[in-house]
Amino acid sequence: MTATSTAEHQEIAGLTYPTKRDEAWRYAPHDVLGQLSFGLSVGSARQLPPAFDASISALEGPRIVLINGVVDAERSDLSALPVGLRLSTFEDARRDQPELLAVHFDSDVDLSTDTFTALNIAFGSNGAVVHVTGGHAIDVPVQIVDIALPDETGSTSCSGVVIHLEEGASATVVETRIGDGDFGGSNTRTTISLGDQASLAHIVLQDIALTQVHLGRVDATQGAGSVLRSHLFNLGGRYGRVDYGVRLAGEGAKVELTGLYLGMGNQVLDQQVTVVHAAPDCTSRQSFRGILDDESTGVFNGGIDVRPGADGTDAEQSNDNLLLSDRAEANTQPRLEILADQVACKHGATVGQLDTDALYYLRTRGIPEAEARRLLVGGFADQVVDTVDNEILRTWITERVRRHDG
């Protein structure tokens, strides 16, 4: 990467980083964020750790792999795409599907306050487009892998994903964000648009190196009767953050956001969610769980925003935290704004320790204490993993979650 002053960099040079006074950035390690550097993506000459190649090929199917924000053609697989699936790089899409990219780069986000989104728009010129045409159902999961291999400047790669499902189409997309090596990280932004009656299963596995930073953003706009099920597994990073902004724009749309964050050491795992009900009779579910050990911090800041006219809204939100250490910390913040009638809105949050009665029960059945603890922690996490319908993906996720909660 070149972190020097490019034309794009000049344009955004006036931006300032968020501070602790910004509610959405209150628990972020600002000293760490201040050391990241951003620039145009130039890829990396470094070797990938062998485990990464094994991880990428563990899931069969079409995929696009990005290393430091540049498409790695060798590791990507665009052959034998099923009928109805168009999977392409931003470079190809600029030529063939410019309208899809226009949506991605004309962000609604207030760029004067959202510095990292502004940086992503400036430098995230590469990425993947998943486009499912007219009513096709794509069974095989589509995989997008973003790999950060930072240099000694704390370089942070920027990339993007655009997912567009036309009316009645369905697909499963798995986004994996990993990284290796020096301090630095990745900044990814996903733009999802679902046509009427379209259905997307979406998985985000954030598993970057524990010394690194991941900043992720997912924006979705849903048409009438569409269904989005997105599962976040926020596992890696000194700071691992994913922002969700979902807009239920068509009548009867449904969104289900589930998340699991597993913190250890001094990790800060941050989920910022806003669901906007902008049409009548839409349903939203936010269900996030954290397991926090050592001195780790979990953050859930979840908003439900019911706009005028979005009558018949059915919205629920829950955040449950399991603290495994008395130095761990869970911060939960619900934000509800309701400006419509006949709205059912529920939210709840819990912070607790391992259930001593359950621990005792397992031990009376001969299970040693350490194993009983693992069983209970695993059970708490499995309830999130179990929300993934696809059995192959569920097994794949379980293996990755186990490495963190073992």
């Binding site: 259930d355 001593t356 359950a358 005792y360 009376t364 059945r365 299970i367 194993e371």
Partner: protein
């Protein structure tokens, strides 16, 4: 086999067991009856190894002192306690739990672990015993189970663990007559010459189904009377008033709080 001598237990300075003596021989089925608050459940927890009690006295199984052992070591030594309020454990698969439990005690005893396929046969037999369908194994431990299902799950665990000593605490509480029959016939089928049982109950009803060799009356943390099964019939007719020299407190005992999250 089980020898309990001058067992005392208190919680936060409040005495609950006040010098309990009991000997249970191999193959014997002993019923312990008593009014609410007499210490019945505390006795079960004292044998299982629950934290939070100050315990004194002796309790040995085959000469081995139980009271200094962790709960898991007591299980490996052959103690099984079926609880009055089995804990719900969402997210932990019943089958996986049962196999982990069985293999934990086998490992502790230096025995070889049982594989998934062989275990299925063991579990199948245990399920037949308590008339459970197979989906029972694939649900989370006790999560969302009815009262009867929880108690049947306790007996199923007992069948899998094959304990030397089974202590069943108020196994009949909250059961309708059909569930009571299933649970009792499960228990009867598990009677063995080398296995002893202690059946703790408030009511005589259970003892119509499980015939004890001995009946003991527990009052104020002490066994005040022992006899054969006719003692239970006497209690059924006359209540505990003959053995209690103060007003009976009918407040229910404190349940184990659920694990549900």
């Amino acid at each position: 086999m089980l020898h309990v001598e001058n067992l005392t237990a208190s919680i936060g300075g409040t005495p609950i067991l006040n010098g309990l003596d009991l000997d249970v021989g191999s193959g014997g089925v002993h019923a312990i009856m008593g009014p609410n608050g007499s210490g019945k459940s505390t006795f079960a927890h004292a044998l299982a190894g629950r934290d939070g009690y100050e315990i004194d006295g002796r309790a040995t199984l085959d000469g081995v002192d139980l009271l200094d052992m962790e709960p898991e070591a007591r299980a490996a030594a052959g103690v099984f306690v079926g609880f009055q309020y089995p804990v719900e454990i969402p997210g932990v698969n019943n089958m996986y739990f049962l196999r982990t439990a069985l293999n934990s005690v086998r490992r502790a005893r230096g025995e070889t672990e049982i594989g998934a396929r062989d275990f299925l046969a063991v579990a199948q037999e245990a399920m037949d015993l308590v008339e459970m369908k197979e989906d029972f194994l694939h649900r989370a431990v006790n999560a969302g189970f009815s009262g009867g299902e929880k108690k049947r799950n306790e007996i199923l665990q007992m069948a899998v663990m094959e304990p030397r000593l089974a202590v069943l605490d108020e196994t009949d509480s909250g059961l309708d007559i059909d569930a009571l029959r299933i649970v009792a016939s499960g228990v009867n089928a598990l009677r063995r010459p080398e296995r002893s049982m202690i059946v703790i109950t408030h009511y005589q009803r259970l003892l119509d189904y499980i015939k004890p060799d001995f009946v003991h009356v527990l009052v104020d943390g002490r066994i005040v009377e022992s006899g054969d099964h006719t003692l239970a019939l006497h209690l059924d007719d006359h209540g505990y008033a003959d053995f209690v020299n103060h007003d009976l407190d009918d407040a229910p005992e404190r349940p184990l709080s659920g694990a549900a999250r």
